[in-house]
């Protein structure tokens, strides 16, 4: 238990946040109240405490008044805790001797009654004062950073990340489950909207990877085991079943960081029964058409050139029964098909049956326009009223008829088709769950890997040292996948360059003499940060992996785990402070 300092000297700073706080909370009243509390040496208000003059004021006060604890009553700590911690640090005080009282998001923004809001602000400030009395100075620690990187998945994202890191001079292990590098891009002919050849994009990458001595490519392999933590992982790479030589042993590699680029698989079109995929021979998926295009022969199963081709968008995407998300690349790919079909068969009519045309970003709207100019017939269907495909009668001049309620005209129509192309959406790979468990990252309800922040941390995960890039995160096109791969590589290179990594001081510790070795916490830890010491029969927390979530602290039946910066005493003192005026 932390010793309560004999006489802590606390400085309390109350922010107006312009009018954000001061309009509802009587800042002066809170100041007066706080100055009457024990151990409070000084209380100040300021219009914007986060501004440079506000921070300078805190720094000067710490120096002049020898403050050893600081409470800032302002906005959410998510917003500015780092700002004020830095202020403490520059005044020579340990940054953890700060406590913030959130009187904006949790008070002034959510209340209308000035008197009551002021009382609540007083209680929040009191709680912070009582808590900060028990804060301890904490030091963050640093661990070594192994420069080797493991990249799982050899598609366009994985290859790009590999080259980025190897070009910077660090070794990379690239693990690919198939016999060839390239991933889904191997199956594609041209790319939308500029019609670059996918083959060209790949050949350049593959050649450079092959020629680079720092890159160790493991084809037909997978990562079977992973242990350790950021900077100090150890992975086992095994040949896939049936591929291993008799005496093959898994390859053990030491790595510092991992990028997961395992890509996507296409939606199984036979799940939508009334499209008749698998039953009607001329209903094909986009990847099957891609195969025809690559072989240079777009034709029906009967070997005839199609007179009418119908392309159905959003197969498996944007629907209640299958996937609610948009697969993002299909619209432009469909336009690309319209272009490719017209190039192969100029007399062929292409109908493009869509829910919405998502021509986002660079070059796509122009591509859409060009497709209109080439007389592609665009027809809109209602999300929950999908087209129905049936065989045409012998007197029709087409093989199939698609019946659809066309939204823009309001007519129930029949579309002739000799070939129906289903624009199958993207979905997470079957083995995504296995990989998620292996590297300890989370998946969303659709199976995509979850990034640590969707806007600001798109390639990091909640597990330090594990990055994600490309279509294993969410459906995306080639430029976005490449950008993510490069982003992940850049993040890793920055860490490798430092040689060491700082670990936040907020982790839990096991008091070994109290631990009974029940191992309850080992199972509960969401970050796999607790290991069991078989020899001494007690659990041990790997501080580099621990996020300080507190699950083990709450669960430990012997109270043997202490959450640093969130001790029982600190929290109880905070609660006491909160209710000081009521109890």
């Amino acid at each position: 238990m932390a010793e309560k300092l004999k006489s802590p000297k606390i400085g309390v700073y109350i922010c107006w946040c312009g009018t954000n706080i001061a309009r509802i909370v009587d800042v002066e009243a809170v100041t007066q109240y706080a100055s009457g509390l024990p151990n409070v040496v000084l209380v100040k208000t300021y219009k914007y405490m986060c501004s440079n003059p506000g921070q300078d004021m805190i720094v000067q006060d710490i120096k002049n008044h020898k403050l050893d604890r600081v409470v800032v009553a302002a906005c959410s700590p998510i917003m500015h805790e780092r700002t004020f911690r830095n202020a403490l640090r520059s005044a020579g005080l340990n940054q953890y001797l700060l406590e913030m009282a959130n009187i904006r998001e949790q008070c002034s923004w959510v209340h209308t009654d000035r008197a009551e809001a002021t009382e609540k602000a007083k209680a929040l400030v009191h709680a912070a004062i009582r808590r900060v009395e028990l804060h301890e100075p904490l030091e963050s620690m640093s661990v070594k950073m192994t420069p080797d990187v493991l990249i799982i998945g050899g598609g366009i994202a994985g290859m790009t990340a590999t080259l980025e890191i190897a070009d910077a001079g660090y070794p990379v292990h690239l693990v690919e489950k198939n016999s060839k590098l390239g991933g889904n891009l191997l199956r594609i002919d041209l790319t939308a909207p500029y019609l670059y050849s996918a083959r060209d994009l790949l050949t350049e990458r593959v050649t450079r990877i092959r020629d680079n001595k720092l890159i160790h490519v493991c084809l037909e392999s997978k990562v079977t085991d992973l242990s350790g933590y950021i900077g100090n992982f150890s992975a086992s790479i095994s040949r896939l079943n049936g591929k291993e030589a008799p005496n093959d042993k898994p390859l053990k590699v030491d790595i510092g960081n991992i990028i997961v680029c395992t890509g996507f698989k296409e939606f199984d079109a036979s799940r939508i029964v009334h499209y008749g995929y698998g039953k009607l021979p001329n209903v094909i998926t986009s990847f099957e058409l891609e195969k025809m295009i690559r072989s240079g022969n777009i034709e029906t199963k009967e070997g005839k050139a199609p007179k009418y081709v119908a392309i159905i968008h959003c197969v498996g995407s944007r629907s209640r029964e299958f996937h609610s998300y948009c697969s993002r690349v299909c619209c432009m790919t469909a336009l690309k098909y319209a272009h490719e079909i017209k190039s192969a068969h100029p007399a062929c009519y292409v109908s493009d049956i869509y829910i919405d045309m998502n021509a986002f970003g660079k070059g796509n709207e122009e591509f859409y326009r060009r497709s209109s100019e080439a007389k592609t017939l665009f027809l809109m269907y209602e999300k929950n009223d999908k087209p129905v495909i049936r065989k045409a009668s012998p007197k029709d001049d087409c093989g199939m008829l698609l019946e659809v309620n066309e939204k823009l005209s309001g007519e129930q129509i029949e579309i002739p088709a000799d070939l129906v192309v289903l624009m199958v959406g993207m979905e997470a790979c079957e083995d995504a769950h296995e990989i998620a468990r292996l590297v300890n990252i989370s998946q969303d309800k659709d199976g995509w890997f979850i990034e640590s922040h969707p806007k600001l941390e798109p390639v990091a995960t909640t597990t330090e040292g594990i990055f994600i890039a490309g279509t294993c995160v969410a459906p995306k096109d080639i430029p976005d996948s490449v950008a993510q791969a490069r982003a992940a590589a850049a993040r890793i290179l920055a860490r490798i360059a430092r040689g060491k990594i700082e670990v936040d001081a907020l982790f839990s510790e096991v008091k070994e003499d109290l631990c009974s070795g029940c191992r309850l916490c080992n199972q509960l830890c969401p970050y796999s940060a607790i290991e069991f010491n078989e020899e001494e029969k007690h659990s041990n927390i790997i501080s580099a992996l621990c996020k300080g979530c507190g699950v083990c602290v709450a669960a430990c039946p012997s109270s043997a785990i202490k959450g640093r910066h969130f001790t029982d005493q600190q929290i109880l003192a905070q609660i006491e402070g909160l209710f000081a005026e009521i109890l």
Partner: protein, 384 residues
């Protein structure tokens, strides 16, 4: 019952002067800006959609393209430059060819060889007729007033008989086509119940809109309507004077300048010239949306009219000034332009709109009143 889409229809339309129809992505800005579009007639958006999808049976029944006067506001506003105004024009050409049972309209609109060929052949026939079967030849003696004896060169009775035969023929074609238009747009729709009294009450629409084109004045730029009306009134008046009352108009007498015969003739000439100058200027300069695209049928229409008007003016001058030889040849040229213009343009080409448009307005009002009664009944049933 589902209607079969015909993606190849757009290729058929090409021949009528297709302009970027396929670029339309149905935002509806055109219908929002059009002063003529309303809850019943959602054009240009709706007919464009039917056209893109090739719903021929639907297009046949639509009157909407005729409600458009092509002011060009929609085309100015179109975010995709799909030119809805021009599309309405193309649809009018297409619909004319649908109404016309002879198939000539389609030939004339889609083939310049046919249109120019027909005009040339009729023109040559008229020249032949007047030069070969002319008993008196050039009569050089003058009337006591000093004018040319036109009626001795071209006996008015004979010419008038010819004019009446032509009038009946043209009217026969035009009326039969209007009956077909009525069949396609009203009769075919079995759900429409239009009472006889409705036909009588709404008949005024036909008269009003034929005479005034007052709906055109609802377009933002009123000058189109002004010039169009002046040209139309001059033309119609001249048509009545010549075809309807040739004996009064083709005379050897020289009336004083304020005589109604001369004043009416001068008004018509003025109207025709003013209108022609305006339309020629517009079509050559292409500054306004309405004049940006000129189909061959648009040009032939005003070129022939210009030749007719100029030759008519010259004829008038030569006669009064007593120049028999010039009068003789100008008369034949005048006829060789006027007759093919009337025979080709009025029933089968650009000029048929003088009949189709007022009838379309008449029919559209009939439809509208029938639809609003039906809507009221539906509403009544819903509330009871």
């Amino acid at each position: 019952m589902a209607i079969r889409v015909n993606p190849g229809f757009i290729d058929v339309l090409d021949k009528f002067g297709r302009e970027n129809i396929q670029l339309c992505y149905q935002c509806g800005d055109c219908s929002a800006v059009c002063p003529h579009a309303d809850e019943f007639y959602k054009f240009p958006r709706k007919p464009i959609r039917q056209l893109q999808m090739g719903l021929e049976k639907k297009i046949e029944t639509t009157l909407e393209p005729w409600l458009c006067y092509y002011c060009g506001d929609c085309s100015d506003l179109c975010p995709r430059n799909a030119d809805p105004g021009a599309t309405m024009m193309i649809l009018r050409r297409y619909l004319s060819s649908v109404y016309d049972w002879t198939g000539l309209s389609r030939k004339f609109y889609t083939s310049y060889k046919w249109e120019l060929g027909a005009i040339t052949i009729i023109g040559l026939m008229i020249t032949l007729l007047f030069s070969v079967f002319n008993p008196n030849g050039i009569v050089t003696s003058l009337t006591p007033e000093g004018g040319v004896k036109v009626n001795e060169m071209f006996p008015v009775e004979t010419v008038n008989t010819g004019a009446h035969i032509m009038l009946i023929t043209i009217a026969g074609f035009l009326i039969s086509n209007i009956i077909r238009m009525w069949y396609f747009t009203i009769l075919k729709d079995k759900t429409l119940k239009i009472s006889f009294s409705s036909y009588v009450i709404q008949f005024r629409q036909l008269i009003i809109h034929f005479a005034t084109q007052v709906r055109f004045s609802k377009c933002k730029d009123k000058k189109y309507w002004g010039f169009h009306w002046i040209l139309m009134s001059g033309y119609t008046l001249m048509f009545i004077l010549i075809v309807g009352n040739l004996k009064w108009f083709q005379t050897d007498k020289i009336y004083l300048w304020y005589h109604p015969q001369r004043l009416l003739g001068y008004y018509s000439t003025f109207g025709l010239l003013l209108g022609l100058v305006y339309f020629f200027y517009g079509r050559i300069k292409k500054a306004d949306q309405i004049f940006k695209l000129s189909h061959l049928s648009d040009w032939i229409f005003i070129v022939l009219l210009l030749f007719t008007t100029v030759s008519g003016i010259l004829l008038h001058i030569f006669r009064i000034e007593g120049m028999p030889v010039a009068t003789y040849y100008t008369y034949i040229i005048h006829m060789a332009v006027l007759v093919p213009m009337l025979c080709v343009e009025v029933p089968f080409s650009k000029w048929s709109h003088l009949a189709y448009r007022p009838f379309a307005i008449y029919f559209s009002e009939l439809k509208k009143s029938a639809l609003s009664i039906r809507n009221r009944e539906k509403l009544f049933l819903k509330h009871n």
